[in-house]
């Protein structure tokens, strides 16, 4: 509970932050601190320096740009949860935020932090992945846009390069004929997802035109359940086709278990059950 010694920087511009990261290659960016600080207190992380993003103007906020909902990296869960824009254009994100951590976590934790951390049991990674968003980052080489399908690359690892800062996430707004739901099976101790599944379904004439399904908790990092997606593509949407597709959800996923609460076998079972439930709920929500 007592972190090792570290330097603390509070830059007031993105340029200053990027410079600090250049000068301190081992430094870590600090956002809401609700993943990083617990790790430091347990000395699982011992960064020599922290670069706090909180004083940098313009990194938080939610706006609509064309058919994209743009959320700044430093926007908190609470801001997302209570945003009218989010409720209107990507309702699943606001709804799912209810099951992220507790009030304090939602007041501190940020969208950027939750994605950059790539926690194997994080909720947002699966949701943002299923939504087919893209991520903007600024680094020594300037700005770039990373499609979310290329963003999560491992447990606690993303496509962000050293010294890069995630600045915003851009989510396609959900048009007519689309519905989405996130179903979470929380761990009784941590409340993180033992398994979480987010399903986004596009329907035309009761045929599934598009399905994106992402799994968290069971996998090393948020991963799409492509076998289930393909099984549903072009099918009539009903309880039977959904069940059949959900049965295939674990195919191609690397599912890991733990020895205390949920084994690999059980999580595999949950991936099927939760995929079915998420798909059913997503179809239910189609507008």
């Amino acid at each position: 509970m007592f972190p090792a010694t570290f330097e603390y920087y509070a830059p007031t511009s993105l340029e200053e932050a990027l410079n600090l990261l250049r000068q301190n290659p081992e430094a870590k960016v600090l956002a809401g601190g609700h993943s990083l600080i617990p790790a430091m207190k347990l000395r699982l992380a011992t960064p020599p320096a922290l670069v706090d993003l909180r004083r940098i103007p313009g990194l938080s906020g939610i706006r609509l740009e064309g058919d994209q909902l743009v959320i700044g990296a430093m926007t908190t869960y609470y801001d997302v949860q209570t945003s009218e824009l989010v409720r209107q254009h990507v309702p699943v994100l606001a709804e799912a935020t209810d099951v992220v951590g507790d009030l304090q976590v939602r007041n501190w934790g940020t969208v950027g932090g939750s994605l950059a951390h790539s926690d194997p049991a994080g909720d947002y990674p699966a949701i943002i992945l299923a939504l087919g968003a893209e991520v903007r980052a600024r680094g020594p080489q300037g700005e770039r846009t990373i499609p979310i399908d290329q963003f999560f690359v491992g447990m606690f690892t993303t496509a962000l390069q050293p010294g890069e800062i995630l600045t915003e996430v851009r989510i396609p707004v959900m048009g007519p004929g689309t519905g989405a739901a996130y179903v979470k099976f929380p761990h009784p101790a941590s409340r993180y997802a033992v398994v979480g599944v987010c399903a986004v379904v596009g329907r035309e004439d009761n045929i599934c035109r598009q399905a994106r399904i992402a799994v968290t908790g069971a996998t090393l990092y948020a991963t799409r359940a492509t076998a289930a997606e393909q099984a549903l593509q072009g099918q009539t949407l009903n309880a039977d086709t959904i069940r059949a597709a959900a049965e295939r959800a674990p195919e191609g996923l690397t599912i890991t278990g733990d020895r205390v609460f949920a084994s690999e076998e059980y999580r595999t079972h949950l991936v099927r059950v939760l995929t079915r439930r998420a798909l059913m709920a997503a179809v239910e929500k189609i507008r």
């Binding site: 007592f2 347990l42 009784p188 101790a189 941590s190 205390v260 609460f261 949920a262 059980y266 079972h269």
Partner: protein, 785 residues
């Protein structure tokens, strides 16, 4: 004239301590600040079992903020001994438990070295600078496996890791089994849990070289016992030691004992001549503060076709962990075996218990201590018999519970003081509307929904301990409680109690009872506890003993005061002592109520004498030590209603009802609070909480990310109800209410889940009933079906 207050006993008085605690003005150990404080951190073994070959602290010692590094050898050289065991049994093996490991580390978390530094951060930094050369040894975690030939030996002094064997027999179980219409055999595991008080342990030790006075501020439940054990461990005169347990953020049994870390803090303060503070982290708490339960039990139960249970044969392996914690031998023996009749007639019982060392954190009392293990076994037993006979579990209970009684000699050992088990059972069934609930269950099953109803009919033993009874049972110790009641000249009262409150609310309940006794306002009574320099020698709070033993001591002291005050009043009223009546805070002459003096006037006279004759001693103060004649036995029936999702195995608790009889109730709100907390504790064990080690003895549940504490959103609101059968053992008729909830709720919930799973043919699942375990049991049952 002073208005006689309303009767306080039985009233829902709001807790006097709450404004202080709720507004953050409590004095917890870590809040204490002393000039020049140094900070202690303990280096703990990462191995479950390892020989300590070499400790090199030279790099830590040169850290600029480090004041000292100590090892087990240092302490031994300075005469610090082994922590004594407070409860002995015949033929018990007593390997030493040094505050820092000397030759071997015996569990993950065993203290190996200590650092004292100028600040906490530096102390923790320096831990990583200490180099310890370990030779890892094979470890043993499972207590049954530990007794098999060839198992790793935790202590050379205890062959086959057996610390003690304990047995009791009543009647003839083998005959009951032979003559039974049916026999059920079951292995049940009552797994290991952590007490998990919100405040971990903490200590500040102060030493005055000039006077030799050693003061320990410490999170404990019993300052005098800590002082005694500390004096014995440190070979230091008891009267030079003062132990203060200020506000303590929950104990649940885990703060009864003297722990190694507190000894090291005292030692360090004496060596350095500076205040030394040590505050446990949560990760340390989960490793270094005692765990509870951890029984592996096989039982056989004999029953007749009509549901009468005739015999029970039990073999239990109780895991003691790596060292004997001071009360550990008591828990799986006297607090477990004699309770194996429960509330039932059950004439034939035999039980054998092995207390076993393993390479795990020591196990001792946590909330309920022994009685939850006995009750869980009995209540599973009843439901298994009901299942075999295809009888309603409520009917099997009705068939077997004792008729109402006073002073019932159980076949094994105890004399139950008073009880009316059919009354609480019937009341509970009536309040849940049992018949309708069963009907609803049938209806929902047809829709593919599985709800289950679980009963738990319990009796437990509190009020430790009548010393004579304890000794006659073979225990080598007894207990009492003490109190001083001091009436001040203005008639205000201070109660000094040997009990300790760390959530129980004594500052209110004791004040209620004493205010009533004297007919004064509750605001005029202050309760002082937790400081060996302030209170008489007392034994503290655990095992729901404070009200039946501690409050009774205060009440008896109060009676002595009234006796003396009556003499003073007689002089003031110029009447014969025999003619004085004391009522509602007034002393008056029988038949002439207007000839009266108040309690306050008498108090003033006791200190500012005008009419007291010379032969009557001044002052108004009395001391009492209460050594009860028997234990007291609270009882009741709890009902849990759950729904199981057969697809995921997830259990949802829908409803919970507790009907308890804890004797006379002083404050219903406080009792409700105890029951609610206790019930949650027991539900936690049934569904979520578990300490898990891997085969090498690594702790897999070392933080609250893995150790699943119960949380409010997972719980329904509870319904409580009470009957009051007074105890004949003490003048107030009180029993104890701190543990009933924990004892009753675990089996109620487990029985409910298994009741929900009855259509699938699932008979037993070991706790905690995690979704995966339930799912696996369903898979297995479906595979067979």
């Amino acid at each position: 004239m002073v208005q006689a207050p309303e009767r306080l006993i039985g009233a829902e008085v709001k807790r006097k301590e709450d404004p202080r605690l709720i507004t953050g003005q409590g004095t917890y150990v870590d809040n204490l600040k002393f000039v020049g404080t140094a900070y202690l951190a303990i280096l703990r073994s990462p191995y479950a079992h390892a020989r300590i070959k070499r400790i090199d602290a030279s790099r830590a010692r040169v850290h600029p903020k480090v004041l000292a590094v100590f090892t087990g050898e240092d302490l031994r050289r300075d005469g610090i001994g082994s922590i004594p065991v407070g409860w002995l049994l015949p033929d018990i093996k007593l390997p030493p438990h040094y505050p820092l490991a000397v030759d071997k580390a015996r569990y993950v978390g065993d203290g190996v070295a200590a650092v004292v530094a100028e600040d906490r951060y530096s102390a923790y930094d320096a831990l990583s600078l200490i180099e310890v050369e370990y030779e890892p040894l094979p470890a043993v975690v499972d207590q049954e496996a530990a007794t098999r030939p060839g198992a790793p030996q935790v202590h050379d002094e205890a062959p086959n890791n057996i610390c003690f064997k304990f047995a009791m027999v009543a009647g003839d179980v083998n005959r009951a089994l032979a003559e039974a219409d049916g026999v059920v055999r079951q292995r049940i595991i009552n797994h290991r849990t952590s007490g998990s008080s919100v405040e971990p342990r903490a200590a500040v030790a102060l030493y005055q070289p000039a006077t030799g006075e050693l003061t320990l501020y410490n999170t404990n439940q019993n300052p005098h016992l800590i002082r005694l054990l500390l004096a014995l461990t440190m070979n230091y005169p008891e009267h030079k030691i003062r132990v203060i347990a200020p506000d303590v953020g929950g104990g649940f049994g885990t703060k009864i004992y003297l722990y190694p870390d507190e000894v090291v803090a005292c030692y360090a303060a004496m060596k350095l001549g500076r205040p030394v503070k040590w505050v446990e982290t949560r990760s340390e708490y989960l490793r270094a503060t005692v765990h509870g339960r951890d029984h592996i039990t096989d039982f056989e139960v004999a029953y007749k076709r009509d549901g009468t249970i005739t015999g029970l044969k039990v073999t239990t392996y109780a895991n003691l962990g790596a060292y004997i914690s001071p009360f550990a031998p008591l828990i799986p023996t006297f607090l477990y075996v004699p309770m194996l009749h429960g509330p039932y007639k059950l004439p034939n019982v035999s039980a054998e218990v092995y207390g076993v060392f393993t390479n795990t954190t020591p196990v001792d009392a946590t909330r309920g201590a022994g009685r939850p293990e006995a009750t869980y076994l009995l209540e599973r037993m009843v439901d298994l018999v009901a299942r075999e006979l295809n009888m309603d579990p409520a009917d099997v209970r009705r068939k077997n519970v004792l008729e109402p009684f006073e002073n019932y000699q159980t076949p094994l050992a105890f004399v139950y003081d008073s009880g009316n088990y059919p009354a609480t059972l019937n009341r509970a069934l009536e309040l849940v509307d049992y018949a309708r609930l069963r009907e609803e269950q049938r209806r929902l099953r047809e829709q593919g929904r599985y709800i289950g109803i679980g009963l738990s009919t319990y009796v437990e033993v509190t009020g430790a301990a009548p010393s004579q009874v304890a000794v006659s049972l073979g225990a080598q110790a007894g207990l009492f409680e003490s109190a001083i009641v001091r009436v001040h000249p203005t008639g205000k009262v201070t109660v000094f109690t040997g009990s300790h409150t760390h959530g129980q609310g004594h500052e209110t309940t004791f004040a209620q009872a004493i205010a009533d006794e004297f007919g004064i306002s509750i605001d005029d009574v202050e309760v002082v506890h937790g400081d060996t320099d302030a209170i008489p020698f007392g034994l503290g709070t655990y095992g729901s003993r404070s009200t039946p033993v501690g409050l009774t001591a205060a009440y008896i002291a109060g009676q002595r005061i009234i006796e003396k005050a009556t003499k003073i009043a007689a002089h003031l009223l110029e009447a014969a002592e025999a003619d004085i009546v004391f009522e509602g805070g007034r002393f008056f002459v029988r038949g002439a109520p207007e000839r009266a003096v108040t309690f306050q006037e008498v108090a003033l006279e006791a200190y500012v004498p005008r009419k007291i004759p010379a032969d009557l001693e001044l002052g108004l103060e009395a001391t009492a030590f209460f050594n009860p004649s028997n234990f007291v036995f609270p009882f009741g029936t709890h009902v849990a209603v759950v729904e199981v999702d057969p697809e995921t195995g997830q259990v949802k608790l829908l409803r919970y009802l507790a009907v308890d009889d804890v004797g006379r109730v002083i404050n219903p709100m406080v009792v409700d609070g105890q029951v609610h907390g206790g019930v949650v504790h027991g539900i936690g064990q049934a569904l979520w909480e578990q300490v898990v080690y891997d085969e090498q003895g690594n702790l897999l549940t070392g933080t609250w990310l893995d150790y699943a504490m119960p949380k409010a959103p997972d719980l329904p609101s509870f319904q409580t109800d009470r009957l009051e059968t007074p105890s004949p053992v003490n003048p107030l008729g009180v029993k104890g209410a701190g543990e009933t909830g924990t004892i009753a709720s675990t089996p109620a919930v487990v029985n409910a889940v298994l009741d929900a799973l009855a259509p699938f043919g699932v008979k037993h699942i070991d706790m905690p009933l995690t979704p995966e375990r339930v799912w696996r049991a369903l898979q297995a049952a479906r595979g067979q079906g």
